[in-house]
Symmetry: C2
Subunit: 321 residues, 2 copies
């Protein structure tokens, strides 16, 4: 059963309820009288103190085993905080990461992580993100030997920040069968150059929003150009059907949104502007992660790759480390 | 007179020579028998040892006062290294930055810096980039009180890496009249939300290439969609003229490329794939920076804002700091 946060979708509770029904899967909606956590609340504090909040109740239901996975279209920060508090990090994972499923025109989607959970990361965090992302693409998207890359300012092993260079060196040494293909540059991301693209949460968040913004600006400019003469406006009518098909193909609603990796149960973060269909797809992604035992397989992969945080390191590390 | 590196343009020396002529401005082309520095050479070493290289000879000509500015379509790293060696950093500037002029459909261009010169930066570097970028947009693009923003993962003052948050605090305190408008997110960059967008060279390089890649992927996907049916293909013919106009408007050739800020003479980095017209525009941008005394005005602004590297700091700092 999937715990579904009733608040957070721009379209209101109704959209969430209809999305749950549309999924055809068993869901439990945590809606009113429970309340929403607003975008401007401090997420960690709100997750701790706001026991009346729907995301907190839904995460707690997953944490105590009443539900198998969590889906929310609410603020990412609140979902992340509630999940870490009640569902908890996987053993040996430094930091959970938000992994965004980016639609690629004419190809299968690319996973970009971290898309914003961790503004500053260390090389060992990037290394874990690589394995977590690869296992998600394999288990949930059925990609065989997903190509994993680091996002950098050049393809060479020495390009990037110190942390990226260090992560490259460790991933290149991998002996567990990870299909590490090196660095990709910004130009390659939307060309499907890799199935999993690993970066820190600052760069990942900027990158994801840049892609959204640029795609929207370019399509808007083309629309304006077409409307600017009667002749091209007629042309615009003739291409409308095909362009609508393309739009459908790269509609963020179709991908189900982002998934939080590194916690003990699947947690899907749907777009705030999700339609009922978008919510349904998010629920389906969560259910698929449950059915395919994504978390268990990820734990096994991190263990076999030898990249779990060691107990010794854990005992001296910061609590949130 | 502008010193023009004869090598580096994908189209060869001929494109550079024609570009110089097309500019209608006095240029001196440094071409064969001088040689090119290749993309895979270590830039700093090459700039020091390759006295036969055209970019080194051209930079030296500017350094000794035989030319007023430098234009090259060669590798950015080599141009940067040759410029720092022979033209030299401005007094009190921590780090020169590559500032890319990003075309915005239907609006004036936005300046993004640093686009790749400094992979790791400190807050005081970001602060200097903000002033250098603002002065360039004012002097060379005639923008009155250019809006300056930091690129971040949220609009709030506390969003971003520690360095971004620290830079925000210093820029918000400015009393020299800088028009600091706060943080912009990735979605806003191509919407012209600011005239100058400041970031570190890693994020800036990734961002610039992501915009290029996304724009190219989206237009390619629309082209493919239009071609996929006879009816929409006819529509495609009807919109062709208007779309070509748009393409012209956002053609990187039209902007003149990127400019290196923080060195003692204007240095313009043209696109490697520049046409002769692209080279001519790069030469015109360099000449405009000379005519408008960009460097002198930038020095005065940095001084009045109190953000120059102090002599005390300089004496203990690293040579390249």
């Amino acid at each position: 059963m999937i715990a579904l946060d009733g608040h957070g979708a721009d379209g209101g509770v109704d959209v969430v309820i209809r999305g749950g029904e549309l999924s055809g899967l068993p869901v439990r909606v945590f809606g009113p009288p429970l309340t929403a956590i607003a975008n401007d609340e401090e997420p960690a504090r709100a997750a701790r103190s706001r026991t009346d909040a729907s995301i907190v109740a839904a995460a707690r239901a997953v944490g105590v085993g009443e539900a198998d996975a969590l889906v929310s279209a609410g603020p990412t920060g609140a979902t992340l905080a509630a999940a870490v508090l009640h569902i908890k990090r996987m053993r040996g994972v430094h930091r959970p990461a938000v992994a965004a499923v980016v639609p690629i025109p004419g190809g299968r989607p690319t996973l970009l992580l971290d898309a914003g959970a961790n503004v500053e990361v260390r090389p060992e965090h990037l290394v874990q993100f690589a394995y977590m992302g690869a296992q998600f693409m394999e288990a949930v998207h059925g990609v065989v030997r997903p190509r994993v890359a680091l996002l950098s300012n050049g393809e060479e092993a020495k390009k990037g920040t110190e942390d990226v260079v260090a992560a490259y060196a460790r991933l290149a040494e991998d002996s567990s069968g990870l299909n590490f293909v090196g660095n990709v540059e910004g130009t390659e991301v939307t060309r499907g150059a890799a199935d999993v693209i690993v970066t820190d949460g600052f760069t990942g968040n900027v990158a994801l929003k840049l892609m959204e913004g640029t795609a929207s600006t370019v399509t808007g400019a083309i629309r304006d150009a077409i409307k600017s003469s009667p002749l091209s406006a007629v042309g615009g009518l003739l291409i409308r059907g095909r362009v609508a098909k393309l739009r459908e193909q790269i509609d963020p609603n179709a991908t189900g949104g982002a998934i939080l990796l590194g916690v003990r149960k699947p947690v899907v973060i749907a777009h705030g502007k999700s339609s009922a269909e978008g919510i349904a797809n998010a629920v389906r992604m969560a259910q698929r992660a449950v059915d395919e035992q994504m978390v268990e397989k990820t734990a096994a992969l991190l263990e076999s790759a030898g990249v779990l945080r060691s107990v010794a390191a854990a005992s001296v590390a910061q609590p949130d480390d």
